[in-house]
Symmetry: C2
Subunit: 414 residues, 2 copies
């Protein structure tokens, strides 16, 4: 299916006097090859092409990946966890970029991305859940955030569909949402307009020559040579042949099942913001889109590469969501689908150059891929053009997982 | 889409010496027009064509209808209810026909129909449900049936996946299953081979001339003239324009949502027979097919013509099925779908001639359409060829709902 495609177009010379075109990807190669065309791969490609490098994305179906399933919560504040303060700073930094990022991307692509500054309400349904939420509140306060604690009654005043059992909540007015499917579409178009070449075939092997990554071989048999190669294939980023074991990103698939319901037009005010809770210790969230879609997520399952929707996954989501918002009973159920998050050993992403010259990673974003897209695009473009990560991203270098004996390897030229 | 189709083929003269062909449906008309190509319409058409009448079926999508959703339980014994002894006799009579009916239909069509003589186990999960099941057992005994009462432990010995909470059960070794989707496919082919003409357009109006039904007008504008017309459109049978109010069948749609799960090959002995229960008073059943499909049904909702799958319907089915067989959690969920059963005021079907000469009904089968298919085919063919219902079907004449003042109307010629 992909074998006959000539996916590295010949460059034509620019017409005299024309504005400077995007640098060309030629059959001989490109400056940067991005392996994976999901949210992270595309935002990396777009931002890098904007800086004047020639960029190609290898993916049989660009615009796919976990973003096709994700709910799109931009939950820097309500996803704060103990011991993850460094990630919190990164998440918050990316969340703050979202309005400008959205504006620029929508301008560049001509597409709406479904960004909605609706805020989030995190609620508790019983004393245990409330105690956990109180702890999150305390942690937020220690991190310098001032969130408002609400009684159950105050929660229901904000969101009248909440169950009578809701006994407290935290108002996170800065945790917004975007629509990852629309975001993907916009990124695809922005990439195309920025001159990114799409190689619609799977990368099957990293090319390494003289201790340097030099591109990849694709499933259609072609070889794409690149000055720098970025592993941005989500949960699959650790599975590319030819990557030396010492620099293989330690990511694993973490399955998430997600439901999509429809709020009929006559229930327009069903929910006005993202509502989330711990229900018996497990997280559930309901993300209402402006177009009437209501996303309910998500399971967290360590089940290898399985992406099947199970009776148990759908049951748990419906049970917990029903406990939180009993009125969902009446809503049409449109879709049940599973995706694979790229989990890493410390739940932090792996951004920037590896110990192997010419090889970068942009993966391991776990639950925060959509949230971290604006920041990831910027820091990867910086690393790819200047050879080093910006300060705020350095704790997330993939080198933190490198084998000790690799520390003596030559550093990337800076 | 249907307007340009010439759906009443011209008859060609049979070649001399050829075996007697099926009687022709001509542009001028046919002996019998069946409105509706679901299980009941098709079995009526097939059996009637076998008796030498020319038969046409009007349906934009023959082979559809509630049978595409139904689980296919042949549950004469476990669906016995107080006050429905007459229906029980009919159901049992049809259930006894199933093996021979299946053999004949599979021979005629060359298709497997998924008939499986697996039996049924009806179980109780708590004391209330057990009391109800005991009452059913007593009613069965009064009806001359000898079913075996099992303890919870005996139930789990038969079906090890049953929940530990199962506290009693009834073994109904004669309540089998068929696969309604395969049954529909086989009936379509058997009809074609028996010379039934398919008019792929919706009947929109009954034609009545001089106090006699004379066929129907179709959505494509054509008029099909028929000596006798059969309303066999399931829940839609009461909605055909042109049917005099006094003979309009009093059927209503009763929505049922059904799930289809898949039992992976390595769990081959997940369930070996149909398992059903009342869970907090509501019925739930799990029907395991030989091909690995596990059907979980069904909700019963009076919601008009809505056929949407709802969060609440799927939730209830999964909750109750999970309570009955906790192991379903691991099974892939393949499909959630809703259909409309044709409910009647007394839950009994409406079979045979109405008070309007030339108009028959074969509808109102409610939960028993698949079970009653063999019997319905036979009694309808009898009524259509001989003008009267066989004795056992007479309590189910649509005339029981006729307006009192219509009783003076001329009876059909016998």
């Amino acid at each position: 299916m992909h074998a006959s495609e000539s996916h590295v177009p010949e460059a034509e010379p620019p017409p005299a006097g024309a504005p400077s075109p995007a640098p060309s990807v030629t059959r001989a190669g490109c400056d940067v090859l991005v392996v994976g065309g999901g949210v992270i791969g595309l935002v990396t490609a777009w931002r890098t092409a904007q800086r004047g490098l020639s960029v190609a994305v290898a993916d049989p179906r660009p615009g796919g990946g976990a973003g096709q399933v994700a709910a799109g919560m931009l939950a820097a504040v309500t996803e704060l966890h103990y011991g993850e303060e460094a990630l919190f700073a990164l998440n918050l930094s990316s969340a703050r970029r979202y309005p400008a990022f959205t504006a620029e991307l929508e301008e560049a692509s001509g597409q709406d991305t479904g960004y909605r500054a609706c805020g989030t309400l995190a609620v508790a349904l019983d004393a245990d859940d409330r105690a956990q939420l109180r702890e999150l509140h305390a942690l937020q306060q220690r991190s310098g955030l001032e969130l408002q604690w609400l009684t159950g009654r105050e929660c229901r005043r904000l969101e009248p569909m909440l169950a009578p059992g809701v006994c407290g909540g935290l108002r996170a007015d800065g945790d917004h949402q975007t629509d990852p499917r629309r975001l993907l579409r916009a990124l695809l178009i922005a990439c195309e307009r920025a001159g990114v070449a799409f190689l619609r075939s799977e990368a099957v092997r990293l090319l390494v020559s003289r201790d340097r990554a030099t591109g990849a071989e694709l499933a259609d048999g072609s070889r794409v040579h690149a000055g720098q190669t970025v592993l941005a294939a989500g949960a699959h980023s650790g599975a590319l042949a030819g990557v030396p074991e010492q620099v293989l990103p330690p990511v694993r698939p973490v399955k998430g099942q997600v439901l999509r319901l429809r709020v009929p037009r006559e229930y327009a005010l069903f929910l006005s913001r993202t509502v989330r809770a711990l229900v018996r210790g497990g997280p559930v969230y309901l993300v209402p889109r402006e177009n009437g879609e209501l996303v309910v997520g998500a399971t967290t399952e360590e089940l290898g590469w399985d992406t099947g929707v199970t009776a148990g996954g759908v049951y748990e989501l419906l049970r917990d969501a029903h406990e939180l918002v009993p009125g969902i009973t009446e809503l049409p159920l449109l879709e049940a689908r599973a995706g694979l998050r790229p989990g890493s050993p410390d739940n932090f992403p792996l951004l920037g150059p590896t110990e192997l010259p010419g090889l970068h990673t942009a993966t391991g974003h776990y639950r925060n891929g959509v949230l971290l897209a604006p920041l990831t695009g910027e820091v990867m473009a910086e690393a790819l053009t200047r050879g080093r990560l910006p300060e705020e991203a350095r704790p997330f270098s993939p080198r933190r997982f490198s084998h000790p004996h690799l520390n003596a390897l030559q550093e990337l030229p800076r």
